[in-house]
């Protein structure tokens, strides 16, 4: 690709920036254009005379949008959000089920201790409601079937959970590589550790499934140190991480999680540019960073990079990033492209039978299916994480296969769905690649120190950089706040 953008893209950029400059005459000079947000009315981008913005944010996921919201609230008017897709939300996405109903295709739950995202939702006037878990879960395996009341848990052996909780106390969520026991813990996979606990054959599949759902990979390839840092996020309580009731899978948003993002985006007006992937980041070590996008060049003094480290590999950096950061990006695991489905029924018919709509398959096609109906059960929705390669890729065929599985767990009514939605995050488009981070053993010891330090004027954000609840929506919100603070503080110093 061309090192320099052609001059017509420069003209395009000038014109766009002039457009964004708006009627309220540009405020010249370096630093912040600190006007109270209310004085401005609707948000409008304002660059200084030289056409350089204070801040450019890459990515309109929960992190990037939170950062934008904070900048706006702080009175900064000179910023844009550049989003590759032609929608906001990133890894949160609502399937439109019709009739005003939705089901989430990506991130959906919050839980205890996830105060940043809960606060944001309150500020945006978005309500929450509990995940439906009352009644019996169905376990399927081969021809076998068992109904069991798990009382809002996944039925994991709490004795093992307690041991993990205890160990997690020495692994700080935001910096696992600084643990006092890093050498010993980062050598092991969760699998190697579990193998020493004498897990019974009938419990192994449960661990395989729960690690796959929570960590993005079965125990064999999940780093113990990283998993412990996740438990540390959950107030050092395994059950607050990997359960439903009073746990990280226990609470949903009315209207779906993407609503947080669309609400934040509404307030941004034309500061948000969709279908605008950043292809190249140049001069990040200079005073003014140049971003080459599909809609021309954008120049800014600070850049908040609110995208997943694996997504950074799709961006050219000129000059190359420092070796530590470059190595971290190259090695960042991206092999958890979850496929999540929603089967829609007229009613949540299973509830009348004392079932909670949850199905767990032992070594089967469905990892976990659950009742994802709207708050008052107006319609019935069964969402599921499925084993991608064990279900046909073609949606109509996948729907048939899954409906038959649900018929075995919930009854023949399951054979007559009124809708089906299927989202494979690895294939739908190139802007997520993966969902959660299956950090392998040894990763943090080698790369941890390179996670957060800014590179020149690039500030790293996105849920992966969060101090608490990294990998979750809560972490995304925290990292957005952090990114905005860093940008504002460093602009003040300039």
């Amino acid at each position: 690709m061309a090192e320099k953008p052609p001059s017509n893209s420069f003209d395009l950029k000038r014109r766009q920036l002039l457009k964004f400059a708006g009627a309220t005459a540009a405020v010249g000079g370096l630093g912040l254009h600190a006007l109270p947000a209310s004085a401005e009315g609707t948000a409008r981008v304002r660059d200084s005379d030289d056409g350089v913005l204070d801040v450019a944010i890459i990515g309109a996921g929960m992190a990037g949008l939170t950062a934008a919201r904070d900048l706006h609230n702080a009175g900064c008017q000179s910023f844009v959000v550049l989003e590759a897709r032609n929608r906001v939300g990133g890894r949160v996405l609502n399937h439109d089920l019709g009739g005003g109903q939705i089901s989430e295709a990506g991130g959906q739950w919050i839980g205890p201790g996830q105060t940043a995202v809960a606060d944001l939702a309150r500020e945006l006037q978005i309500d929450t409601f509990p995940t439906y878990y009352q009644g019996k879960t169905v376990v399927l395996g081969g021809e076998g079937r068992l109904e069991v009341d798990l009382h809002g848990t996944f039925g994991t052996d709490e004795r093992i959970g307690a041991k993990l909780s205890e160990l997690s106390k020495v692994v700080p969520s935001g910096a696992p590589w600084t643990s006092s026991r890093v050498a010993e813990l980062d050598k092991l996979s969760v699998g190697e550790w579990l193998a020493r606990q004498g897990i019974k054959p009938e419990d192994r599949s449960g661990w395989d499934t729960s690690l796959t759902l929570t960590g993005g990979v079965p125990p064999a390839r999940m780093g113990l140190l990283h998993f412990l840092s996740m438990i540390n996020s959950a107030s050092c309580d395994y059950m607050k991480l990997d359960s439903i009731k009073d746990s990280a899978q226990g609470t949903r948003f009315v209207g779906g999680s993407q609503l947080l993002c669309t609400r934040m985006a509404e307030a941004l007006g034309d500061k948000l540019r969709l279908a605008c992937p950043v292809r190249e980041i140049a001069d990040w070590d200079r005073e003014v960073v140049r971003l080459v996008t599909d809609q021309g060049e954008v120049r800014a003094r600070r850049v908040i990079v609110a995208i997943h480290p694996a997504l950074c590999n799709q961006v050219r950096f000129q000059p190359a990033l420092p070796e530590g950061r470059a190595a971290l990006q190259r090695a960042w695991p991206a092999h958890s492209p979850a496929r999540k489905t929603a089967m829609v029924y007229k009613r949540p018919f299973w509830r009348d039978k004392g079932l909670n709509g949850h199905t767990v398959e032992v070594k089967g096609q469905v990892l976990w299916a659950w009742d994802n109906s709207p708050p008052n059960g107006e319609i019935g929705v069964i969402n599921a994480f499925i084993v991608n390669a064990m279900v046909p890729s073609e949606p109509a065929a996948a729907q048939r296969v899954l409906a038959q599985i649900y018929a075995r767990s919930l009854g023949d009514e399951a054979l007559n769905p009124i809708g089906y939605h299927d989202h494979d995050w690895g294939q739908a488009d190139p802007w997520s690649i993966t969902c959660v981070s299956a950090i392998p053993p040894g990763f943090w010891s080698q790369h941890g120190e390179s996670l957060r330090p800014a590179c020149g004027n690039l500030i790293w954000s996105g849920t992966e950089t969060a101090e608490i609840w990294a990998g979750y929506m809560d972490g995304a919100v925290r990292s957005g706040h952090q990114g905005a603070l860093q940008a504002l503080a460093s602009l003040r110093q300039a």
């Binding site: 081969g142 193998a195 192994r204 991206a334 390669a389 073609e394």
Partner: protein, 217 residues
Amino acid sequence: MKKKLLLVTGVVLVVLLALFGRDLLGLYRLQDYLDTTTQAYEAEGPWPQTADACLACHGKQGSSLHQRYPSLAGQPADYLKTQLHTFASGQRMNPNMQPLAMSLTEKQIFELSDYYARQPALDNHGFDPDPALRAQGGKLAAAGACMACHGEHLLGQGPFPRLAGQGADYLLAQLDAFAEGRRTDPSGSMQAISATLSPADRKALAHYLASLATAPK
């Protein structure tokens, strides 16, 4: 006394079966399934195993029903080893596979390649080929001499992968990548061949190869 007790337990069992018959049978079958799957799993070694991490995309014993995620079953070990190495070195590009391959030790790469090479290749029943495309693909395959490298029945050999029964979308993505220079092979022959094929030809080839039997008569 003993007789009476036996009788009682008998009665209890009958009552239980009447009440929970379906449940008990279901539980029995579940237990049975657990036993057989555990036994089959442990034949490869104790739990957990590195290959667990490959299952989600590459399927049970390396046979994927998903047309875009390739089947690894029955692929030559040499080929698999080379791919893991080239993913790790960045020579072959795939955002999901690169970091995963980088995190594997030589021993793990050897074991994974050996494991998948030993698994039986299965036909791609999930794919419904277009008859015209398949016929056209058959001619192209013969003209392109695919068999010279990939073996008489296109089941792969040495450094050359099995194409028969592979996922259709995966095959097409690879042909496109070769044609556009995003994937390379040591001899350069795949690039040379793919570059002469139109996008429609590549699609036809994918339909033909995906629908080929893995156990030719």
